[in-house]
Symmetry: C2
């Protein structure tokens, strides 16, 4: 088996009920308002599901950050773990219904970037 999930000491996850406000946007940003989380979710939406897949995305997320973000996404109910399809003992990550519901956000971000940021283009293809 792989090692136990990310320890609490490595990169601290904030105690869950410390919302800055009841605003739905603020609350969403408490969950994924950082430079990396939505890129992992992007990868999941394109069918990537394994730790190594996220690591090998073009942005090069550091592995300790990835561990922390996956842990937060699990705690937030946005992803879950399932047995990998290769029949082995390793696990894969998958979006929950709550995570799938983020798709319009990612789509509108992609559209905005393509429209307003010169030189951007879709490079990752669905699996």
């Amino acid at each position: 088996m792989p090692k136990a999930p990310a320890s609490k000491r490595a990169l601290k996850a904030p105690p869950p009920p410390s919302r800055r406000s009841p605003c739905p946007v603020a609350c969403a940003l408490d969950l994924f308002g950082d430079r990396w989380t939505l890129l992992v979710i992007r990868d999941l939406m394109l069918g990537r599901s394994r730790f190594k897949d996220f690591v090998s995305s073009p942005e090069g997320i550091p592995t300790n950050i990835l561990s922390d973000r996956l842990e937060r996404l699990l705690e937030g109910g946005i992803v879950c773990q399932i047995p990998a399809t290769d029949g082995g003992k390793r696990m894969a990550y998958e979006l929950t219904e709550k995570g799938e519901a983020l798709r319009p956000i990612l789509k509108s971000m992609r559209d905005w970037g393509l429209s307003w940021e010169a030189g951007t283009k879709v490079l990752l293809q669905p699996v």
Copy 2:
């Protein structure tokens, strides 16, 4: 006049063309992938336009962070400055067309939060 805009030393803005990848999502996150920027944009979309308005939003953004974020948004072409409507000498911030184009992102984030995060509710009303 108020003091000159935020200095470069206070909180460093990254050299513009250091994109992590040409992905439109990654590029968008380079501009507003943090806990505060989209809250300022939310306020702007609701008609707030002055420094003090952003400071008095319920999340309580620290003023040094706000200065830094406004500076980045100006550099990124997402906001601009215009004379405040009160006829005085002070300036107000306003979304550019590029900034206005972020509206679908904010809307989908609000909808997601309202649907999936218990206890969230719209609290800020348009001016």
